[in-house]
Symmetry: C2
Amino acid sequence: MQFSKLSGSHLNHLSLIVGAPFVFTDSEIMRTYSRDETEDLEFFPEAVVKPRTPGEISEILSLCNKERIPVTPRGAGTGLSGGALPVCGGVLLSMERFNKIIEIDERNLQSTVEPGVITEVFQNAVKEKGLFYPPDPASKGSCFIGGNIAENAGGPKAVKYGVTRDYVLNLEAVLPTGEIIWTGANVLKNSTGYNLTHLLIGSEGTLGIITKAVVKLIPHPAYDYLMFVPFASPEDACNAVSAIFRGGITPSACEFIERDAFDYAFRYLGEEPLKIEKETGAVLILEVDGNHPDSLLRDCERAAKIMEEYRCGEILFADSSEQKEKIWKVRKCMGLAVKGTTIYKEEDTVVPRALLPELLKRVKEIGKKYGFQSVCYGHAGDGNLHVNIVKGDTSDYDWQHKLPSGITEIFELVVQLGGTISGEHGIGWVQKPYFRIAIDETRMRIMKEIKMTFDPNNILNPGKIFNLPLS
Amino acid sequence: MQFSKLSGSHLNHLSLIVGAPFVFTDSEIMRTYSRDETEDLEFFPEAVVKPRTPGEISEILSLCNKERIPVTPRGAGTGLSGGALPVCGGVLLSMERFNKIIEIDERNLQSTVEPGVITEVFQNAVKEKGLFYPPDPASKGSCFIGGNIAENAGGPKAVKYGVTRDYVLNLEAVLPTGEIIWTGANVLKNSTGYNLTHLLIGSEGTLGIITKAVVKLIPHPAYDYLMFVPFASPEDACNAVSAIFRGGITPSACEFIERDAFDYAFRYLGEEPLKIEKETGAVLILEVDGNHPDSLLRDCERAAKIMEEYRCGEILFADSSEQKEKIWKVRKCMGLAVKGTTIYKEEDTVVPRALLPELLKRVKEIGKKYGFQSVCYGHAGDGNLHVNIVKGDTSDYDWQHKLPSGITEIFELVVQLGGTISGEHGIGWVQKPYFRIAIDETRMRIMKEIKMTFDPNNILNPGKIFNLPLS
């Protein structure tokens, strides 16, 4: 990696492409775009550029490719692996003006959307037409759909409905060479050559800049019920999860939350909207949805019976939208709550679902060994556990020098269990040192060669996922 | 492309790798492996090799890579685009000895399976444990799961459950260089670098040879109901399909069949297990499945009401397994029935669901213009229409010289409608001349460069999807 030096003539050229009001260099704005939601990292771009059309992006990338200027694409900056951090300086290319829902095609249950649309805004727009776009990362109120695609974001509903990948049919993207392509077709099935759509999804803005997405919609389920279920033992809670699936029930959300996470959330919110008993060690949030309330109630009853076998406490059955919102509000603020309280590192481990109790137990053991505490919560139905390692009383020295060994041990464990080091956050900048734990040399070589095919001069989001020399 | 010349010393080396009884060169066996289910094409391999382990395949590929010998991997040979045809001679590598279900992991709802397991055998094995592997191509009684992955096969259930791609979590594959990799991890979500699993799925045996697959299973639905619904007008039938989806019903199968297809099927079966009225122009087969029979019956009623608005005839409601099997037997034999009757070409068009009536109408117009007849059926819920062009009275001259223009026009139409030229059969050998209609120059370049990354000497299934020089 090599840092860029943007010249005055480069800035003039960029202004010619997008218009002078959309090229920024003043330090306050550089500061704003120097961070995303990843820990407390900060990297300053040399300029922020806000294009409006694929054609403008094509011109920007052509220029930067010729001049070897790093370009870091950015959605809403809510990422948790540092994917939008301009670690090599250069141009920060903000997609915020790509904010139109171009079409909601009710006949085909598809929508064409620009990448700068906020996920929840999009969800609400299609819901007005009775339709459903399920991917719902915790940041859905502020994140962009383009960033979700770049990182292959998940969220609570993934357990029933799948992740972002499962809803993307076709992408328009500008390649680092300036070429504009559509990756696929607007269809539900496609066996026409190598699947470039799936290659771009989750590629963290390193292969191309997404400028339009055609996504699949489904009919919005008419009913959903939520259960808030305390357990004394976190292991029992985890074990109940796979029993529920084996019982033939597919919940539309199945979240696991350690007790400590509630303490962080309540402090952050300044209120205790939910009552957590002293003996509660963990909570499951279970949602079912569908069109037939009687069937859903029967599923709830069966799930409750199964959870009782795992010694759950008294189940709170939420059927009013106020109650449901209260529960989701607490769950969704947890990342920010931990971040707001202490220095921390969030890991995005994922293992086969039934191995979650094993993972949880051993994460705590590793913590003890290396002297750190962790707060865990996540999408138990997917085997996706967010391990928030909090600095707390850990000394600066230990945090800097011992923690990486602890994280390495956690990731080695995850891979041993058949899992991997990121379920939905991506590798980006912060997981790059650990990437080799999950990926062997051959796969690494193939990925790098694919990168070079798309981006021969390594100008697009350089320094992410793996290192390549800038030429 | 360049044809190989396998020497005696190559054959000796292959015998050393897999054992002499598993290397074949006699002409009867070469004939057997010279064909798949694609039209009446025939290409002879120079040797058929039947390895048993990834290590053996690694040695075979290392040898062939060094000696520049083409290797064509083959599953059960049921493909419909010629993917398993050894068009450059060389080694035909049959996967038939990779026929073990290694593990059915009931705790995690996953299975590890070898690629030579017959899809239906696998489905039955997991069903015995109450589990469900949905992908069900018409050939499921004979096709291999590895071939399904290589072509990204679909089938009737794709409309609710997705295609093969949606069930593959992780693949072990041998690359043309002899390297053995796992492409991903055994997890439901994965944001750890570029998704090589999705790159291999649907790559038609051109990037690597799949030696193990970890697939996702789901609980088997307890009930399913089938409706057999005649319409006078094929357009009405197609229009009813998207109305059903817009009505919030997601059928577990939604098949469209033109009247003529029944005539072929009945002749092929030698019986008329279903009664088709004289005025019937097309039939929809609609299935719903789930765990709550009362909800399913309500869905059937609502679907029936919607179809009545589109002037359907009397609905046959199949609730006994005999009746259901009878219906599926007729539907699933249609490809073979057409193939057994006349020279034909099967196209695998796919468009956004609501554009199916438009596609059907214009396929018939194009047929009239070029003087050919077609029999259409397919997965209407996915917008995936199999257009069987039958030779019938068409002259040999017209069949050879005019038909390609007609097919070109159909494919141009499909792309214009936002669709593509293969939904589930692949490009393989027979659609290669038309591939450029769906794929622009930039995408073609990227795909070829990806191929060169995996297979620098173009030894693995050369001549498929696109042409590359053999070096």
